[in-house]
Amino acid sequence: MIKIIMGNLIVSLSPHAHGTESVEKNMFGVVIALLPAVLISLFYFGLGSAVVLLSSVAACMFLEWAISKYILKRRPTLSDGSAIVTGLLLGMNLPSNLPVWIILIGALMAIGVGKMSFGGLGNNPFNPALVGRCILLVSFPAQMTSWPVAGQMSSYLDAETGATPLSVMKAAIKTGNSDLLTTLPDTFHMLLGNNPLGGAGTIGEVCAIALLLGFIYLLWKKVITWHIPVTIITTVFVFSGLLHLASPVYANPFVVILSGGIMLGAIFMATDYVTSPMTHKGQIIYGIAIGFLTIVIRNWGSYPEGMSFAILIMNAFTPLINLYTKPKRFGEKLNR
């Protein structure tokens, strides 16, 4: 608490009241919103999911504490919950058979390079979890793109792997053979994450329903607003829908929005406070650009998934977007 006392009275400037908002409320709100997806991932990937998520969260928390204490030499701020969120989101973005030593490198990149090197919470230009994930993706492409088949509860490094819907989509575009798309699961199964292909994706992206539950919770608790997630998903849907109408080698838009990291990215990664625009107008521009870039990278880039790269690219544009999107000032519109 901050005390300024004159005589026997406390003094300060107004306002003297504060609402219920706090950093902790928002950070732990995100953690609670992620719980359904975490539970589902334990159901699908068992031991592997538990090992990856726990080691990622533990590593991120330890690094945050150690770097603030021994390198930045200031009070560690573990209690604000931001390291837990980064650790959880990094874990959700990894395959469930990733060795612990790679996860540790990922956590070091996320917290050390992505966050603390810029000065810690609030100062990082890029989403720390995505910095960690993308560095791993380009450094360890083999390990980062082998996806265990769901349902192997007790296996970790030894899990059998399979293809993801995204790699099937990419193959269909490359070969021009739209018949490949018939092997994709239907929309209903994509929602549940019950994937008959066997392969799934990263820990956090398998079940769209669980992520949408988290989205509803975040909206209800007013942690985030609808602007970023809805514009991203709508843009992806419209753009991929147009492509689907133009040529059958492009997948059905319902399957596209439910596959890969679209939901996880739109709801939990792109909405990161620190790295997204401040005004609703800016958030809509940011969301549209992320949706567009994601489809471009997915369909015509060399990686099967584009969500992480699209968000990082738009993170770089956030200061510019903030500069040019001003809220409507009072008095600009005159009459009811």
Binding site: I2, K3, S14, P15, S22, G122, M278, K328, G331, N335
Partner: protein
């Protein structure tokens, strides 16, 4: 019931209206009354009494000094003890007149009866006469800002008034003085509104009341059922609805452009409900402004209440009448917790703008520790003026005053919604006000060239 409200931003503080159902009591006379000469916006008043002079209740003790200024009347009878300096609610020392209280003798011209005077009985009251009486009575805005009332009734030639809007919103937590006034003097307030409408030569009057005061809405609606000129407007609860510009937007759906524009530029003259009552008393009862309704409140105050207070009464007298300061750390506010000023001494007197003495204790008295800005944008979302508080605060802190001016810092109404909502408890408004002060003086210097 259709509820209106303003269209940009806003927050919902806890209400804490502890004293809403407590009838108003007359506060005891102080031993000595203290009258700061600068208790209104504009030039401080000039004393017309000297040490040793005898005064009565309602005697002029300081006259208006210039156009934007207001006279001050004694609220007590007794002897002028000295003309000195003393600390006021802002924390600054300023000239004051101190009067030792002896008895309670009133000036003869003041009509102390409670009989209601109607407009119909006084056809002699012209617009000019009403404005003159308001000016002579020293009436200033009683919602807190204390701007001389007669000036608002004489709009610049470029603007035309179309309506009077009575501010009965009382959106600040804790305060119930305006509410009690409405419940106890509704008929007088309606006559006061008629007087203001006549003075401003307008045909339409609105009274904006938030929905948390259903009894006041009901009472005033009943009294105005057959009056086509006055409309009671129920408003959805949202802070800062009592801000002049927000209220105009809520009631007639027009937004006042950026400063220097004022509400009358869109046709509205806004007056606080306490001011309207004072206008009634000044015009109909020949009673200058020397007493007012004030709430004394706080979660830890033993007997909070509403008081009819003679101005010049020190805070300590009123707090003592309510059971004294609670144990622990206390912050005493002149006003409510959103925009009130925390006083540095309990010797500070009640003035024309003191609508409440609010005591915050222990955890409520302290600010929470500051954490880094997480750029959540919640301050932008709640700003009722459509500004970007996080940006203004940063530009102020780094002294980028030119950019600060481009970002419309002068539009800030200091409502504190940004700081109220900030998850990191950052001193956003502290920083903005510092920068705004510099920008305002730069603009002034530029205009003088």
């Amino acid at each position: 019931m259709k509820l209106f409200t303003f269209r940009i931003g806003g927050v919902h503080p806890q209400e804490h209206k502890l004293t809403a159902d407590i009838p108003t009591k007359e506060a005891a006379l102080p031993k000595a009354a203290v009258f700061p000469l600068g208790q209104h916006i504009g030039a401080p008043a000039r004393p017309v009494v000297k040490r040793g002079d005898k005064v009565k209740v309602g005697t002029l003790i300081a006259e208006a000094n210039g156009f934007v200024s207001a006279p001050i009347y004694s609220s007590v009878s007794g002897t002028v003890a000295k003309i000195d300096t003393s600390i006021d609610a802002t924390g600054y020392r300023q000239p004051v007149i101190i009067i030792n209280v002896e008895g309670d003798e009133w000036e003869e011209g003041i009509d102390r009866s409670s009989e209601l005077e109607n407009m119909e009985a006084h056809p002699e009251l012209t617009a000019e006469e009403i404005i003159e009486r308001i000016k002579i009575a020293g009436i200033t805005g009683m919602g807190g800002a204390s701007f001389p009332t007669f000036i608002k009734l004489c709009p610049p030639p470029t603007a035309k008034a179309e309506c009077i809007i009575v501010n009965a919103v009382e959106c600040e937590p804790y305060i119930t003085a305006d509410y009690r006034l409405m419940m106890e003097h509704a008929a007088e307030i309606l006559v006061g509104l008629k007087l203001l409408m006549k003075a401003a030569k307008v045909e339409k009057g609105y009274i904006g009341i938030e929905e948390n005061k259903p009894k006041a809405i009901e009472l005033l609606t009943e009294l105005t059922v057959e009056d086509s000129q006055i409309t009671i407007v129920p408003l959805a609860m949202k802070y800062p609805q009592g801000g002049e510009k927000q209220l105009v937007d809520a009631v007639i759906g027009r937004q006042v452009p950026a400063p220097p524009a004022i509400p009358v530029n869109v046709g509205a003259i806004v007056q606080n409900v306490g001011t309207v009552f004072a206008v009634y008393q000044a015009v109909m009862k020949h009673k200058p402004l020397f007493e007012r309704y004030t709430t004394v409140t706080g979660e830890h105050i033993k007997q909070p209440g509403n008081f009819l207070v003679r101005m010049g009464t020190p805070f300590k007298d009123l707090i003592a009448a309510c059971g004294g300061l609670p144990d622990g750390d206390n912050k005493v506010l002149a006003g409510g917790p959103m925009m009130g000023k925390s006083v540095i001494s309990l010797e500070v007197p009640v003035t024309k703008g003191t609508n409440s003495i609010t005591v915050l204790t222990d955890a409520d008295a302290h600010r929470k520790p500051i954490e880094p800005c997480i750029r959540c944008g919640k301050c932008v979302e709640v700003c009722p003026m459509g500004l970007e508080p996080y940006l203004l605060a940063t530009l102020s802190a780094f002294k980028h005053y030119e950019r600060l001016e481009q970002e419309d810092v002068v539009s800030c109404i200091s409502c504190g919604s940004c700081q109220f909502t900030c998850p990191s408890h950052r001193p956003i408004l502290d920083n903005i006000l510092q920068g705004k002060g510099v920008v305002m003086s730069r603009i002034k210097a530029r205009n003088q060239k």
